[in-house]
Amino acid sequence: MLLLRSVLNRLLGMIVVMALVATIVFVIVRVTPGDPAAVMLGPDATAADIAALRSRLGLDGSIPEQFWRYIVGVVQGDFGQSIFLNEPVTAALAQRAEPTFFLTVFSLLIATVIALPVGILSAYRRGSLFDQAATTIAMFAASVPSFWLGLLFIQLFAVRLGWFDTSGYGGPGASFGDRIAHLVLPALALGLVSSALITRFTRASMLDVLNDDYVRTARSKGMSEWRVVLKHALKNALIPILTVIGLTAALLISGAVVTETVFGLPGVGSLVVSAVLRRDYPVIQGALLVIAGLYVLVNFVIDMLYILIDPRVRY
């Protein structure tokens, strides 16, 4: 019963946050100084053109009317029509979702695969040469802009060594394997930078639990070291680690926006950048909504995982 209430509480919280996210996106487009339609069409536009575009952007009528139409559209999954691509925003986003999705997933995988063992070992051998090296490298990695690292990778691995293509997603009709091969360098650039944060948190969380009584008890029972570390300590350190992995997922989407542009990937990130440059407001609006919505959803899933991992957690 308590469990069901926890889940419902979080679900309700998620719906409220989603509604606020939608409201913030609505407000952002409306804080544009002047008339967005006039800004988009430029100084030569006629009043009739501006009025037509205003109606297309959903900017006609009173603010409450606009808000109602917008919310109804969002609930139905209708984010409007892209002005420049001349297609529904949902279709434009769906077409470009694949590279962004796989880039984010691969980067997160790379980051986690590096960070978890390094963070655990760092905490276990606190103060050792390995720990010091790992901590220093993690801090350094967190200071590197992922787009700059991406450019260095292109220069080294694509231009000098010729191991990868310099940019793109394999072109039309490219096989799945070919497309994925184009994600190796960008995922490495993003994953390496993101691994820093997860490493630091894994180390901190492990340090927190490694001195706890139950770890000492497990040791005193004669349990092998790796079981003590992986089964008893890691399990209890997982909640903060999961939180930071969730947070990194959001950071990765941010990183993907810039990295996709560097590597010429036709993803949601580069779609947003070109939409901004062309002032295609419906696309910006739709992309913000979908990405923030996904983030809220990921956090909800992580909260649910907390309940599974730690039965004491209730909301």
């Binding site: 996210v21 952002i28 804080v31 941010s254 913000l288």
Partner: protein, 287 residues
């Protein structure tokens, strides 16, 4: 007993304690050097940041042009000094802006029980947007000027600070001295400023340093994409964007500004870590 007999010694100030930590001291020294170079840019820069010289274009680094020249013959070292002014000013302004907004939101949510849920939900919603994406959208809406970039990044980072301030305020609100102040009839604004805000300065300072570091990275990202500060104003991000087109023949154009970002952000992180260890021992667990 011995401790009681010892005369009270004044605790060294925060700055001295920070200097006592080697890594934080190095970070602080690097930041001071970068800031001084940025401030003195008009005096120490060997060339004009905007002077074009087609004859000197893509000149490799040598004694005449320490970091070489770019595609329009402009001195890369000079432009980097001027770019440091932009990056550091934007970073500082964002910390102040997000500080003011974050403190107001955090204190409100943490101190007034009835407002906690709505303000906290607003903070949650704001934090659902990836930082660069929200900043891009805000700059697109407001217009690409340095002030709007500051406002956009300030709005992006304010919720992070608000969350920290709220968490600390929730604890302080229940402490006996706040209760005593309330019982004595001290007005709420005075309690908030004198008793609560004063005691949440440590986490604000720590978080502010990290926001500074994140802003440098985010501003560089926005400028690199061409959706931030106008390309006419030198920034490290725009310099990398230019250098990108000449990576094969003139790698220095993008290498040096990139290195400047890494060094500045690293220095800020070292200072932030040092501050956190000194001011917030609960969080200091060698993260």
């Amino acid at each position: 007993m011995a401790a009681i007999a010892t005369p009270l010694q004044q605790e060294p100030n925060l700055f001295s304690r920070l200097l006592g930590r080697p890594t934080a001291a190095v970070g602080l020294a690097v930041l001071v050097i970068i800031a001084v170079m940025a401030i003195l840019a008009p005096i120490i820069a060997p060339y004009s940041p905007t002077k074009l010289s087609i004859a000197a274009r893509l000149h490799a680094p040598d004694l005449q042009h320490l970091f070489g020249t770019d595609d329009l013959g402009r001195d890369v070292f000079t432009r980097m000094l001027y770019a440091a002014r932009t990056s550091l000013s934007v970073g500082f302004a964002v910390v102040v802006f997000s500080g003011v907004v974050g403190i107001v939101l955090g204190l409100t949510a943490g101190f007034f029980r009835k407002l906690d849920t709505p303000v906290s939900r607003l903070i949650d919603a704001m934090m659902a947007f990836p930082d660069i994406l929200l900043a891009i959208a805000l700059v697109a809406a407001l217009g690409a000027t340095p002030i709007n970039v500051v406002v956009a990044l300030g709005i992006v980072y304010a919720p992070r600070l608000a969350r920290v301030v709220r968490a600390s305020t929730l604890v302080i609100r229940e402490l006996p001295y706040v209760e005593a102040a309330r019982a004595l009839g001290v007005p709420t604004p005075v309690i908030l400023v004198r008793h609560v805000l004063r005691n949440v300065t440590s986490p604000i300072l720590v978080q502010g340093t990290f926001i500074f570091a994140n802003t440098i990275l985010a501003e560089a990202g926005l400028s690199f994409l061409g959706v931030g500060i106008s390309p006419d104003i030198p920034t490290w991000g725009t310099m990398i964007a230019v250098g990108r087109q000449y990576m094969d023949q003139a790698g220095w154009i993008m290498m040096f500004p990139g290195a400047a970002i890494v060094i500045t952000v690293l220095a800020l992180q070292l200072v932030g870590d040092g501050l956190r260890d000194l001011l917030d021992p609960r969080l200091a667990k060698d993260i």
